[in-house]
């Protein structure tokens, strides 16, 4: 396998054989199209390859990998919720060495554009992970899952604290070849996601992945105890889509130059289009894959269709489109005499 399968520049429309140029940019890397899998919802690609050709989507994002092998959390690990699900897998995985040797090797051989997601328990582990990956050929990008508890900061999730988030990103960026983008994946469970986004970008993030799951809990009313062994879990699926689109909107509004990988409840091409219009340069399809194993490929073709319908010639023209136009600012909520600062939002 050569590097040829991975595209590093915009692909001419003619070569795509259709009317919309789907080329997507993600932190300096060009992908032939903007639809990726979501970390933890596609394992390392092999299983999905039976349902659709995984070399045809934008890229495959691997399950977050840690330094050592991990058995994850006890079961039950999931609960179905209205239009969503709660999971508490606990990052079960083979550890970085086994991952490079087996999973990444297979992906490379299969010619799959691969985004490697990494996760650590302290800032130093992220450094080591980046170092392990720096000589691995043909990685499209590194997605840094910072929705993990920082054992050196009372278990506080990195992504919930600007300084911890920045520390991790600094470490990863320093230890990653400059032509490989580093994408920080943020949690929506924060007071101000723009603050965290800014901290990550200042620390060197080339792009942002928005959003990880929302912290949730389900009580099993038969046992009258939390349904998950891990008590709380991450909420995903269409239920969270409005929150995800809002995060993309807010961050794109504040940092229009920063590429965003949008995700959270994308189930079809119209859903994906919402994220693109709100400011995402590319999207990940996660939980929907559990409902439809071919979802990423289907979303891609539907998104192309929706863009064509709306007369877009290039995907990139649609990115952030909903922010443009004069009439998108809300009417000022309070009398002008009161009004100061950002436009207040009322429930």
């Amino acid at each position: 396998m050569t590097r040829a399968v991975i595209s590093y520049g915009p692909i001419p429309v003619e070569q795509l054989g259709h009317d919309v140029d789907m080329t997507a940019e993600l932190g300096g890397t060009w992908l032939p199209n903007p639809v990726l899998t979501a970390s933890g919802c596609a394992a390392s690609g092999r299983e999905l390859d039976t349902f659709f050709d995984i070399t045809k989507i934008g890229a495959l994002v691997t399950k977050s990998i840690m330094l050592a092998p991990r058995s994850g959390r006890p079961t039950p690990r999931m609960a179905e919720t209205p239009s969503g699900m709660l999971n508490s897998i606990g990052l079960q995985g083979p550890g970085i060495d086994g991952f490079i040797e087996h999973d990444l090797a297979w992906l490379r051989e299969r010619g799959v554009r691969t985004v490697v997601s990494i996760a650590g328990s302290n800032a130093d582990e992220y450094t080591k992970l980046a170092q392990k990956l720096r000589n691995v050929p043909e990685i499209v990008a590194i997605e840094v899952n910072i929705s993990c508890p920082n054992v050196e900061n009372k278990g506080l999730i990195f992504a919930r604290d600007p300084a911890s988030a920045a520390a991790v990103i600094t470490n990863v960026r320093r230890n990653t070849p400059s032509d490989i983008p580093v994408i920080a994946k943020l949690s929506p469970d924060v007071t101000d996601i723009v603050e965290i986004a800014r901290a990550c970008v200042r620390a060197g993030a080339d792009g942002l992945a928005l959003i990880n799951t929302l912290l949730g809990l389900v009580i099993d009313t038969t046992t009258m105890r939390p349904q998950l062994a891990g008590i709380t879990g991450g909420l995903s699926g269409p239920a969270i889509r409005p929150v995800a689109v809002r995060c993309v909107w807010e961050v794109h509004q504040a940092l229009p130059e920063v590429p965003i990988l949008g995700m959270g409840g994308i189930r079809n091409g119209v859903d994906a289009l919402q994220f693109i219009l709100a400011g995402a340069s590319a999207v990940s399809v996660g939980t929907a894959t559990f409902n439809d194993p071919a979802a990423p490929a289907r979303v891609l073709s539907e998104l192309r269709h929706e863009l064509a319908l709306r007369g877009f010639e290039r995907l990139t023209d649609a990115v952030g489109h909903a922010h443009r136009g004069a009439d998108v600012e809300p009417e000022p909520e309070l009398g002008a005499e009161h009004h100061s600062g950002p436009v207040p939002r009322w429930p």
């Binding site: 991990r70 994850g72 559990f290």
Partner: protein, 283 residues
């Protein structure tokens, strides 16, 4: 190789308290082996239920007017199974399958004992057929809480050398659990291999009895599944590998059939301390 197809309900018939659905699913029957399962989307296009429901393949027809059908036995447990039970003839059903690893089959014409608890009996019929083709003796034990929760006693009678029934309440057959009758049958029929499908505690107990009898044991487990295709890591349980190391394996792709003696039955819903990658372990 599993496929995803938009099938259609050809018909539903009641068997005890179960609904046996016959679904067209081109591509699925051809590849289906005993112990495989299908995962069905439930609730229709605007359903709040995102996750597929898993059902053992009860039977298949390979050709015919409809080009291949799959039978499943649905016990109504919640909204997803209720929805399936309420479907009308010709309603569409989205099917992914066949999934999982099927029962391992003996190369010799051995004496096989098939044990099914409730709808756990569903996959045993294809298995029995396959075993008899191979010249095996097939004895069957079906157990359930009550008579109406027994699945398909009629067909079981036809295919088995002997059929033994147990119900918790004694409404039919022997009052008690399947494990109450197992020792006697294993001795009488010289059981070489036990195939079991049913609730986890039953599988644990059957495994124990089979081992003490010196029989091989194949168990089809039932863990809660989010994806059914191996990508989410929801459905794991601790299984001892050939190398003696316990790993958290996915029951949807590494199972649902496992050698009973390889499952750490006492450690279900835990991460055993000696498990590969367990907290604190140096793996």
């Amino acid at each position: 190789m599993p496929v995803q197809v938009r099938g259609e309900l050809l018909g539903t018939r009641r068997v005890g308290s179960y609904h046996v659905l016959t679904i067209t699913a081109p591509g699925v029957p051809e590849a289906a082996r005993p112990g495989h399962f299908v995962a069905l989307a439930v609730g229709g296009d605007n359903s709040a239920m995102l996750l597929r429901r898993a059902f053992s393949i009860h039977g298949v027809t390979l050709r015919g007017v409809y080009g291949g059908t799959v039978d499943i036995a649905v016990g109504v447990a919640g909204p997803g199974t209720q929805w399936l039970a309420n479907l009308h003839r010709h309603d569409p059903i989205d099917v992914v399958g066949p999934l999982g690893r099927p029962f391992a089959l003996p190369k010799q014409p051995v004496s096989a004992l098939l044990v099914g608890g409730g709808y756990g009996a569903a996959p045993l019929f294809m298995l029995a057929e396959e075993l008899r083709t191979r010249g095996c003796r097939v004895d069957v034990v079906l157990g359930a809480a009550t008579e109406d929760r027994l699945f398909n006693v009629l067909d079981a009678k036809r295919m088995a050398s002997t059929l033994t029934i147990t119900t918790d309440d004694g409404s039919t057959g022997t009052r008690g659990r399947v494990t109450d009758v197992l020792p006697e049958i294993m001795s009488r029929t010289n059981t070489d291999v036990v195939y079991a499908c049913g609730p986890m505690p039953m599988l644990a107990a059957v495994t124990e009895l089979a081992r003490s009898h010196g029989a091989h044991v194949q168990t089809a487990v039932e863990e809660s599944m989010a994806c059914g295709i191996g990508v989410c890591m929801t459905c794991v349980l601790p299984v001892i590998g050939d190398d003696g190391v316990t790993r958290m394996l996915r029951s949807c792709v590494d199972g649902p059939v496992f050698r009973g003696d390889r499952i750490r039955w006492d450690d279900l819903d835990t991460i055993p301390a000696d498990c590969y990658g367990a907290p604190g372990s140096k793996a």
